[in-house]
């Protein structure tokens, strides 16, 4: 089985978010970048397939050279090779078109992406990739088994979960549950050394226009001070929620 894991290069979850250039650009100053958490669950599941069932694992990112450390980290975790499509990730649709091109050239059976990136939260790349490549698609995937050409997946739905059967080629939008948090791997020294020698192929983009463009950013208005209620006066809290906040 040939697995492609799509890796988004995102600010660490603890990052403070700021903008520069008159609020038109994300300010990367002092920001630590990581593998998008939803993608990392998928990468770890891909490693499981590689080790238990036999599979090759390629990781791919659409972005500039600054994303290569993130791809190297994925190689250190155990992916066999990496591809970087050499173009900035401008919007979800154009990224999906670049990935679809990588997939049609590489002939992958299983494409694992995160259900959304934690930076732009578009939540569109996996579904668009599936639609562009005519592959089956399971979103919010929290469990995946592959047997030959058929697959069984569990997806989270509002208020529960659903088990589905499908077949390869398959795209999944993965998230926590694909593997547990405790299954995530921290690259060891040997992995880091080996990752330096693994291929990281830079490919040039296909012509794909961005269908949406970012105009500007703003941060939410600062919150007013909290109204403290004494633990001996819970009646007041109920009254505030009813009369002032009007939420009960």
């Amino acid at each position: 089985m040939k697995i492609l894991v799509c890796i988004s290069h995102v600010p660490d979850t603890t990052s403070k978010i700021n903008f520069s250039d008159n609020n038109t650009k994300f300010d990367t100053n002092g920001v630590q970048f990581v593998i998008n958490p939803n993608d990392e669950f998928g990468l770890t599941r891909a490693m499981w397939f590689k080790e238990k069932q036999g599979a090759s694992v390629t990781v791919v990112n659409v972005g500039g050279a600054e994303t290569e450390p993130t791809l190297r980290k994925a190689l250190a975790i155990g992916a066999d090779e990496a591809i970087r499509v050499n173009t900035p990730a401008t919007d979800g649709f154009s990224v999906a078109k670049q990935l679809a091109n990588v997939i049609s050239n590489g002939g992958y059976d299983l494409i694992i992406a995160g259900r959304e990136s934690i930076d732009y939260n578009g939540g569109m790349v996996p579904g668009m990739v599936a639609a562009l490549t005519n592959a089956n698609f399971v979103n919010n995937c929290i469990g995946l088994e592959v047997d030959g050409n058929s697959a069984k997946a569990t997806r989270e739905i509002d208020g529960g979960k659903e088990t589905v059967s499908t077949s390869l080629p398959l795209v999944i939008g993965g998230q926590k549950g694909l593997v547990e948090e405790s299954d995530l791997r921290i690259p060891n020294m040997r992995g880091i050394m080996m990752a330096r020698k693994k291929p990281l192929n830079v490919v040039e983009p296909v012509d794909a226009s961005a269908e949406t463009s970012s105009v500007s950013f703003e941060k939410p208005a600062p919150k007013g001070a909290v109204t403290l209620v004494s633990p001996d006066n819970i009646d007041e809290l109920v009254s505030l929620l009813h009369n002032e906040a009007k939420v009960i």
């Binding site: 668009m128 509002d158 269908e211 949406t212 970012s214 109920v238 929620l241």
Partner: protein, 319 residues
């Protein structure tokens, strides 16, 4: 030319999100000087949509669509959009709508903006405001394509009632190969889901152990709320993953969010930031959550929560 809206349903009845996206579609239609057409799939009575500005309903009845299937639903909506020559297609942010929207966008060769929180600030160029960086910021996005798909954030635009009535027409789209077949559904029918909930009661490690969740569930019951938890609690296996809210869990956009024994890590606060009113109960007055909350109680959850349940019961009895 009308604005098309997909009004989602469950067991033959519209979800609340359906009325919210209909309200949103009406606002867009007013800006464009056109009408609203809704697509409804296997809904028994579509007349309620008239109260939210829908002029016409394309009513699809097809047993192949009894179970949600993203490909089939996206295809049906695409055919409806083409039928109406719609330039704007509006969907919600439920799990199912977020699943089908990217497929729909590819089918219509449309730019797609998700998590949109306001009516367009401009329709030429078409510009919307959406959340980004998991609610740590808003992004103003321009959609450059002729046809646009807009995913409206849950509970962001609200319901806008109109006096009107919707005409209904049967619509029979062709159904593509499903590709994915539902084998089983495991859904607690007696509980409110986090996505649908107006009120969410959430608890963290401050509760000390899974055996102490009885009072959280009781509080949720009294309020008709959904229960949720922090990441450490789900990682420890005290509560199911489906309850984890925050940056890598579920987003919450409820009217009221009550956090009990949750300190308020930046990732947690990001995930629940879209909630309108936040209440925090924590023993530690320095907990970061107090800076993000509207109302706070510095106190022991094991004392405050039972008291709150009692007071709420008395309050509900008076209502």
């Amino acid at each position: 030319m009308s604005v098309l809206v997909y009004t989602e349903s469950e067991q033959g009845a519209f979800k609340k999100a359906a009325f919210e996206v209909a309200s949103y579609a009406k606002a867009v239609a007013n800006q464009l000087g056109t009408t609203v057409t809704a697509v409804a799939i296997n809904v028994n009575d579509v007349s309620a949509l008239g109260n939210y500005g829908v002029d016409k309903v394309l009513n699809i009845s097809n047993s192949q669509l009894d179970n949600f299937n993203a490909n089939a639903y996206a295809s049906a909506i695409k055919q409806a959009a083409e039928n109406e020559s719609a330039q704007v297609v509006v969907v919600s942010s439920t799990a199912d709508s977020k699943y089908l929207a990217p497929i729909l966008a590819v089918g219509l060769n449309a730019g797609y903006a998700s998590n949109v929180v306001e009516a367009p600030s401009n329709t030429s160029p078409f510009t919307v405001k959406r959340t980004a960086f998991t609610n740590k910021a808003f992004e103003t996005t321009q959609i450059n394509t002729n046809v646009k798909v807009i995913g409206v954030s849950n509970n962001a635009f609200g319901l806008v009632e109109q006096s009107g009535s919707a005409s209904a027409e049967d619509f029979s789209p062709s159904i593509p190969e499903l590709g994915v077949t539902v084998e089983s559904v495991d859904k607690a029918t007696d509980k409110v889901s986090i996505a649908d909930a107006e009120i969410v009661v959430s608890a963290g490690r401050g509760l000390k152990g899974p055996e102490n969740w009885g009072m959280i569930e009781e509080l949720a019951d009294v309020l008709g709320a959904a229960t949720a938890c922090s990441k450490p609690v789900s990682d420890l296996g005290w509560r199911p993953h489906g309850e984890h809210v925050g940056q890598t869990g579920k987003p919450v956009a409820s009217n009221l969010y009550i956090a009990i024994g949750i300190s308020g890590a930046i990732q947690h606060l990001a995930g629940i930031n879209a909630s309108k009113v936040k209440v925090v109960i924590n023993t530690d007055p320095e907990a970061p959550f107090f800076k993000a909350a509207d109302y706070g109680v510095v106190g022991d959850a094991f004392q405050v929560v039972p008291e709150l349940i009692e007071k709420l019961k008395a309050f509900k009895a008076q209502q």
